[in-house]
Every structure is written in C-alpha cells, then in structure tokens.
C-alpha cells in the first residue's frame, strides 16, 4: 500500500470530462474560468517564494524575527501572501537550529502551504509519509538522505487545522559571500518541508 494506483486512466478522464460538461450546462463551472484559475495557481505558487523568504531571513536578522513572530505580517514585505486560495491561511514558520530540526506533515489529508511551496509532491500526500513521519521521523528522513545527529531534537508539526507550516532551514556553512538571490537558489522544496537540510 502507499503507492499510487492510477487504474484505467482513460475511464477516469472520460468521467471527469462528463461531470465537467454537466456542470457547465448547469452554469456552475466555466471552461475559461477553470483554465485561468489553473494558470494562476501554477504560475504564482512556487517554492521560489519560500526560498526568497528564507534567503531574506538569512541576511536580515530583524526580518527573521518578524517572520518567526508573525509570518503573515512579514510576507507582504516580499510581495507574498497566503491568499490566492480558497481563503487566506495562517502561516507559521519554524526554524531549524543547531539543536532542533522541524518537519511538516498533514496526517489527515494533505494541507500544505501551496502559495509558498507550489503544488505538493505525491509523496507528501501518501499514506506512507503521513503515517510514518509522526511516529518514526528519523527513519523517514533517512529515506530522504537526511541523517540527523542523535542530539538534535525533532519536532513534527501536524497541520490539522487552519495553520500552514514552513521550515526555515539553517544557512549552510561557507555561504557568507553569497547574495540573496544566490542564497535563495540553495533552498529546496524538501528543505522547506523539513525532509532535507536546506
């Protein structure tokens, strides 16, 4: 279990087209509207957004403090927001330190900070990840190639309500000479979820 069973995809695709056609007849969806909504979602929501927040926090300690204290208020400083979806969500940014490592999950479904990370990977939504990371996080992180020092404390944040979580990874060593854009390029989506160091 845990793997994706796509089944007879042609049948599913036909079913979706059929339902969409019925809804169009009822005036509940509009094909052009759907395309525009998808386009907006796919272009505006991206892990580049989360990466920019991280890079700014790395170079600007005051911004870092503001981001950790009230992320929703800090986002507009970089022209970002948690809106653009069904409703504006509360964002909580949790920082990794020398002694602590954070990882995000939604055990009940798939809640995810879409506007800052873009569409979520299938593994994040899988029963395997959702069931295991709350119980044996180090084991799961190892599968992603991240081995934590035993002295590091791990906190798993289960997004069971309206808050969405993003990890602020530690700034890698040897990056003192890099500018903000270059720093942002170091940050991966997996680092923002907490299954990678950065």
């Amino acid at each position: 279990m845990g793997s994706e069973h796509h089944g007879p995809t042609a049948a599913v695709a036909a079913r979706v087209r059929h339902v969409e056609a019925l809804l169009e007849q009822r005036g509940l969806v509009d094909a052009t509207e759907l395309d525009q909504a998808l386009e907006a979602f796919l272009t505006s929501a991206s892990p580049a957004n989360g990466a920019r927040l991280v890079a700014r926090a790395w170079v600007d300690p005051d911004f870092r403090s503001r981001l950790l204290a009230n992320a929703n208020a800090a986002l507009p400083e970089l022209g970002l927001s948690m809106g653009g979806g069904l409703q504006e969500q509360r964002l909580k940014v949790v920082d990794n330190t020398e002694h602590t490592h954070n990882v995000i999950v939604c055990t009940l479904c798939s809640c995810y900070p879409l506007s800052l990370l873009g569409p979520s990977p299938t593994w994040y939504k899988s029963e395997s990840y959702r069931s295991r990371v709350v119980r044996t996080p180090r084991e799961v992180l190892k599968e992603f190639g991240l081995v934590l020092d035993p002295a590091v404390e791990v906190t798993v944040w289960d997004s069971s309500a309206e808050s969405r979580y993003m990890v602020l990874p530690r700034r890698p060593d040897g990056t003192d000479g890099l500018g903000e854009e270059q720093l942002a390029a170091l940050v991966t989506r997996n680092g923002l979820i907490g299954v990678a160091a950065v």
Partner: protein
C-alpha cells in the same frame, strides 16, 4: 467511528516513494478535478470541511486503492449528488 484517512502512526505502509521532477498534475483530468473543486467551493455548492468529510467516508479499501485526485473526484461527485446538483444517474451515465 475511526476513519481510514486517519493514518498518523499506523504501521505497515512501507517506504515513501519519491518521483524525481514530478509534475504538479500527472494528467489533464487531475488538473480539471482540482479546478472544478475550487470553483464549486468558491460558489458555495459545498465547503472545504464537507469536501474532506466526503473523502473520509470512502470505503477503506477504495480509499487506499485510489490515487490522490481519484479521491478528490470521488468526493466531488458524491457531494454533487448529495446536494442535489446532479442526479446519481447523470453522473453514472458518463
């Protein structure tokens, strides 16, 4: 009653399968299901909590055998019928 979606801490699911350079949607129909659901919630046909509830009410075996957007499609069609927007017959005649 404990529902199948509530998998935190459940054992036996195996390694986390990762797909390199995964696209946001694996097929057009997935993107359409995503957009249709957004539109219907935006129009107040149902709310997000009802949507999640509809996924959770899937029979366990069907839930585990379904891909992520297959679960969404199940919830959307279930709610459209339950809310009287479409008839079960119309949805089935696809």
């Amino acid at each position: 009653m404990s529902r199948i979606h509530d998998v935190g801490g459940m054992q036996g699911f195996g390694p986390v399968e990762q797909e390199a350079d995964e696209p946001p949607f694996h097929a057009d129909w997935e993107a359409h299901v995503f957009a249709i659901n957004r539109a219907l919630i935006g129009r107040g046909v149902y709310n997000l909590d009802e949507f999640r509830d509809a996924i959770e009410r899937m029979p366990p075996q069907e839930y585990l055998a379904s891909s992520y957007y297959e679960k969404w499609l199940h919830a959307v069609t279930t709610l459209l019928v339950e809310k009287g927007v479409l008839s079960a017959r119309e949805v089935a005649d696809g």
